[in-house]
């Protein structure tokens, strides 16, 4: 890729939009995953009794079970959300950047 093409792509509004929306979306989702997971780990380290609280009196199922299963499902759902948006909206933007190079 020569210098001229690089500058042209950098000036392309679709490219700028792609970079800013996608990277902020990716960083937000990453932080969300990290925060959820590290909260879980810190809860285990500092207050394990909370996760061992029964869901209701007389139940043996503890708070930790839905929390743990929930994190697994949360991780799957997050990847699904990102994939859907990236394969639609973001790919459209990056295709339009590619097409703008062909026109000239």
């Amino acid at each position: 890729m020569n210098k001229e093409t690089v500058e042209k792509i950098k000036a392309n509004p679709d490219y700028q939009k792609l970079i800013s929306t996608r990277n902020s979306f990716a960083v937000k989702l990453s932080i969300l995953m990290l925060v959820v997971y590290f909260l879980f780990i810190l809860l285990i380290a500092f207050n394990p009794a909370f996760l061992g609280t029964p869901l209701s009196s007389g139940s043996v199922t503890t708070v930790g079970i839905p929390v743990g299963m929930g994190i697994i499902i949360f991780a799957i759902v997050l990847t699904g959300i990102y994939t859907k948006r990236a394969n639609g909206e973001f790919d459209d933007l990056s295709n339009s950047v590619k097409n703008s190079l062909k026109d000239h």
């Binding site: 890729m1 950098k10 990453s30 079970i65 697994i72 950047v97």
Partner: protein, 554 residues
């Protein structure tokens, strides 16, 4: 019936017979249904290898299966790479022993995946060709960066191979009644055949078939357990707590102190994103779109699999624990309690017998064997690629090598790694190898991950920074593991550990990032300026795929 079959095998002088009656006490009688199903698997996968060998004509075919694997297939293969026998048997065994702690562990192994998708998958696919070193060295100096990345890859692969080979020898000895050495040699030889002849195409399909078999078998077991309790988790848990006590429903002693907890979390999360055999799979798909789909499917399959192993572990508590047919009577007589035959890692295997009899036990045993084969094949291919593509073609020959020669070198590297795997597998039979997988993850997180992610996103990264930072990460991970309790005290026999924590990642990953940052920003050389100037073009390709490698034409 079982005994009669065993007797027949022994009487007809089958090749395993002599070993099956001598050897160690823990060895089981030959399991016929397991052997028949395993032979079917081997026959089918060798057929695939034959087919793949005919299609593997260039280095690109060999490393990336021609680049035409779909997102769904690749997701299945990635999940297969991750669902090793160690995680299937180990995590279900951990749930069986400790209950909730097993779930904590599996969550740690899962949460790296979304981060791989958000930050790594797409730039990796767009910038790389065959190995992750392609990406790390994209705008930096080839020789030092590839040497470093290949060292990180080969170290990770060999450590992982030690764990898999030793585990496989013991498991096969237990399940199939083969001798340990014969089991290790069998795994090594089959793995060499798959990889050397069939390359990535065969390795991928072996992995997909195995992932399908493993998910089906685990689904059946979990379903059978839940059906027994009218699909009520409450009933399953209350029966399990009656047998093992209420403490299995809450966090136990797995994570002892906050530093170890965070350190383990970092190793699992970032280590996953630095495993060479996983990263390599992103080059087998056509474009970034398929790469994203791969991670989505892989995360789904892996998450589902961990939920199954949790149910399987609890199923083993209610159906295997305290049952006389699975009790290790010899150990019970000496130390009391209710130890199961073969140790707690056999919980899932015994459960397969409890829910499905000899036939299903045979199926799950064969699947466990297939799992080992598929995982070691993927590892060997990643190691061979680091040797042939990074060290031989790029560092030694400076890129002046044709595709056929490079492929021939990778085949030789495959054979060499296979032989090494067999040798270390046998050498480490009676060694304490509890630390090796942790060390592999620590190296992946401390040496591979920081260089990879910084090369993608940080303009100011220079060769000097990456080499020093990566070397600091690699060196400190190895050193801290040696000085930690698992090696310094348990293996070397010293009284107290010099480094008090079990997992080094918190320190070694930080050191790698800080080292890379410091030695990059203080690098005022001309070449550093050139490398930084190349960032824009690299970033555009990483983000849009303009100029990226496509699939091969056939």
């Amino acid at each position: 019936m079982h005994r009669i079959l065993t007797f027949l095998i022994l009487a007809t002088g089958a090749i395993f017979a002599a070993d099956a009656i001598s050897g160690q006490v823990e060895k089981q009688a030959l399991n016929m249904s397991a052997i028949v199903m395993f032979l079917i698997f081997v026959g089918a996968t060798l057929g695939i290898t034959y087919w793949a060998a005919k299609k593997t004509k260039s280095a690109k075919d060999f490393y990336t299966a021609g680049g035409g694997i779909t997102g769904f297939q690749n997701g299945m293969a990635i999940a297969g790479d991750y669902m090793s026998a160690a995680s299937f048997l180990g995590i279900s065994g951990l749930v069986y022993m400790k209950g909730y702690d097993g779930l904590i562990y599996s969550i740690g192994f899962l949460v790296g995946w979304p981060v791989i998708l958000f930050l790594i998958a797409e730039p990796l696919r767009n910038l790389g060709k065959y190995t992750f070193a392609d990406v790390a060295s994209y705008r930096l100096k080839q020789t030092p960066i590839r040497t470093l990345a290949a060292s990180g890859s080969i170290a990770t692969v060999i450590l992982y191979l030690i764990a898999q080979m030793v585990g496989s020898g013991k498991l096969i000895q237990l399940l199939f009644g083969l001798s340990y050495e014969m089991a290790v040699v069998l795994v090594g030889v089959l793995m060499i055949l798959y990889v050397a002849f069939g390359g990535m195409l065969a390795t991928t399909w072996v992995q997909i078939i195995k992932a399908f078999l493993l998910l089906s078998g685990a689904t059946f077991m979990a379903f059978a357990v839940m059906a027994h309790y009218n699909f009520s988790f409450g009933e399953l848990f209350s029966h399990a707590t009656e047998l093992k006590g209420i403490q299995i429903m809450s966090p136990g002693g797995l994570v002892s102190d906050p530093v170890s907890a965070i350190s383990l979390a970092i190793a699992l999360m970032f280590g996953t994103a630095g495993l060479p055999h996983i990263l390599m799979r992103f080059f087998t798909v056509n474009d970034a779109k398929e790469a994203r789909k791969s991670v989505f499917y892989a995360t789904g399959f892996i998450g589902y699999f961990y939920i199954l192993t949790f149910i399987i572990g609890f199923g083993a508590i209610v159906m295997v624990f305290q049952k006389p047919e699975y009790l290790d009577a010899a150990k019970h007589a000496i130390s009391g309690g209710y130890p199961i035959l073969g140790g707690s890692n056999m919980a899932a295997i015994h459960l397969s017998h409890a829910v499905g009899g000899d036939f299903f036990l045979g199926f799950i045993s064969a699947v466990a064997f297939a799992t080992i084969l598929a995982v070691v094949s993927g590892l060997t291919l990643a190691g061979a690629s680091a040797i042939s593509h990074d060290l031989y073609a790029s560092v030694f020959r400076k890129g002046r090598v044709d595709s056929m020669t490079e492929m021939r070198v990778s085949k030789m590297a495959t054979i060499a790694l296979g032989v090494i795997a067999i040798i270390v597998g046998i050498a480490f039979e009676n060694q304490n190898i509890a630390f090796v997988v942790g060390l592999a993850f620590a190296i992946a997180a401390s040496a591979n991950f920081p260089i990879l992610v910084l090369s993608m996103y940080w303009r100011k990264l220079t060769t000097r920074g990456a080499v020093i930072g990566g070397a600091l990460g690699l060196g400190s991970a190895v050193l801290l593991v040696i000085l930690s309790p698992v090696v310094w005290v348990s293996i070397l026999g010293n009284k107290a550990a010099i480094f008090p924590y079990e997992y080094p990642a918190l320190f070694s990953v930080t050191l790698a990032f800080v080292g890379t940052w410091f030695f990059s920003i203080t690098d005022k050389s001309e070449s550093a300026k050139e490398e930084q100037a190349l960032f824009d073009a690299q970033f555009i390709r990483a983000q849009t795929g303009i100029g990226a490698e496509g699939a091969s034409s056939h």
